[in-house]
Symmetry: C2
Subunit: 339 residues, 2 copies
Amino acid sequence: MIRIGVDAMGGDYAPRSVVEGSILATLESQGKYQVVLVGDKKRIEEEFKQIEMDIPDIEIVNASQVIEMNDPPVESLKKKRDSSISVITRCLGKGEFDGIVSAGNTGAFMASTLLSSGKIEGVIRPTIGSYMPGEKNISFILDVGANSNCKPAHLLQFGIMGSIFVSTMLKRKNPKVGLLSIGEESSKGNELTIESYKLFEKSCLNFIGNIEGGDIFKGKADVIVCDGFVGNIILKFTESIIDMVKEKLKVIMGNNFITKLGILLVKPALQKMSYLYDYQEYGGVPLLGVKGTAIIGHGGSSSKAIKNAILEAYRMIRENINGKIAEKLSSYVEVESEK
Amino acid sequence: MIRIGVDAMGGDYAPRSVVEGSILATLESQGKYQVVLVGDKKRIEEEFKQIEMDIPDIEIVNASQVIEMNDPPVESLKKKRDSSISVITRCLGKGEFDGIVSAGNTGAFMASTLLSSGKIEGVIRPTIGSYMPGEKNISFILDVGANSNCKPAHLLQFGIMGSIFVSTMLKRKNPKVGLLSIGEESSKGNELTIESYKLFEKSCLNFIGNIEGGDIFKGKADVIVCDGFVGNIILKFTESIIDMVKEKLKVIMGNNFITKLGILLVKPALQKMSYLYDYQEYGGVPLLGVKGTAIIGHGGSSSKAIKNAILEAYRMIRENINGKIAEKLSSYVEVESEK
């Protein structure tokens, strides 16, 4: 059976939210996957006790230390060898888990996963991708933070991995891949995107050319490719939009009774809309290009976000995303070198 | 008297919207500035005829050619020496205008302004800045498209010019300057921002450190500094938000009567909110660092946007933004070289 390790100590509301999320995910598992909580066994069991229901079958693997959210990743990994992040990634590397989820220190989780499991053959740089809401349907943007400084070959691989992810997970055939830039023409952009454009053009991808900032929400591309610096800014900017809209509406409606009544009536619709921007719904973002499936949760993950992250990890394993990446990148490298 | 040249042929709705905007601006001028329309004299006069009111005193300077929105900037400037953009920028260079406004081909307008007027002494790279809405108040972001590839010294100068602009135009003392990056620590970011951080720290600016994508709308910084690639993507992304919100609300409310009633009641508030994101309200974005004041209008500028762009140009001239930039940058260079 598929085994998914979950970092019980990671996230602002851990271990409570993680324990609850793991229970929710297990209740939906239908015996298809086994959730394993990794962390302070005593604290996890205390959480179990406080939950007034029959706890489904969840294993616990003890880890005596915790890497805090603001700890420096590399140093803390060296010092805290029995931290939940160290243990969970080690288990993934040894094949004891098929996938792992952590809402803890992203840098440490990423570095440790990479160290323990290694890259998929042919991958130059692993990448983090994220779903992105859109006017009509969601798209997938990558890289969103793993690689601040990129070369054209990296972007091309992000495009390939993103394309595989979208065609598999969102069931879109031959997904449209767009390069995020500042003008449609191939000559527009910065040094990185202008060079990358040439690689994309020659590639096996369904490349639709450059897309601009205004196209992100339009769903022009299924896969939006950019470096991790740009992608991370866009991702965090997007997350803040719903706050901005709420805050502005509050200020604008002031003490106007009619507007307040209107807001009340519109609330369910607004709520539905805010889901679209809400990372809790997507659960987490996949780290692509490493052996073994890893989902990075948002620091503020609720139990629902954790549940969704576990489900996402399960689907990625079931759909063999990593196998498909390995197949594509090795064949791609061959084709390229034949030219 | 201050003379402001307006490109009558620039923009999707030119010359109609430009003529109307120029009339509106002249009606508000109280004799403080003179608007001069530059373009096909016959067509402008035809527009005048169709407007059923007394046309206020607006001069016309004839220009027989038009650079279209999608023309290649440099080539078309060479070929069309009597285009409205060529003529208007030449007049600025000769001192016949104190400021100019164009909603036409941005690349051509920028290049021609720079060529005709030259840079302010001490400026390495002119920059385009833009107002940015926020939860509590607006901020100013630059560069938003003039410089796709930047060096740390460029970003520092953008910070200085932005700081002068905001303290003068928005009357904010000692504006907070933030470097747009992907983490608060000075070590986070890409090569450009990490190096730039060191320069900003040593500078005369009220530097508050790195800000992240999620801080843009929070108003954490009065001046947000980034390279023109990132800034342009953010700017266009922001412009698309209101479309996205409208579209989503439409889909979500569907045929629900209660929600529709709610929307009706909330509409005035939504309208007010959408103004905040609406470039028509800001009129245009200033090109900073060139001798002579230039405002770049959005291609889709309405008559209101043109009017607001002219008013913005007038305020920039009245407040002597360029003089302040020259003073600061020359003194700054001296201080730096003393170190």
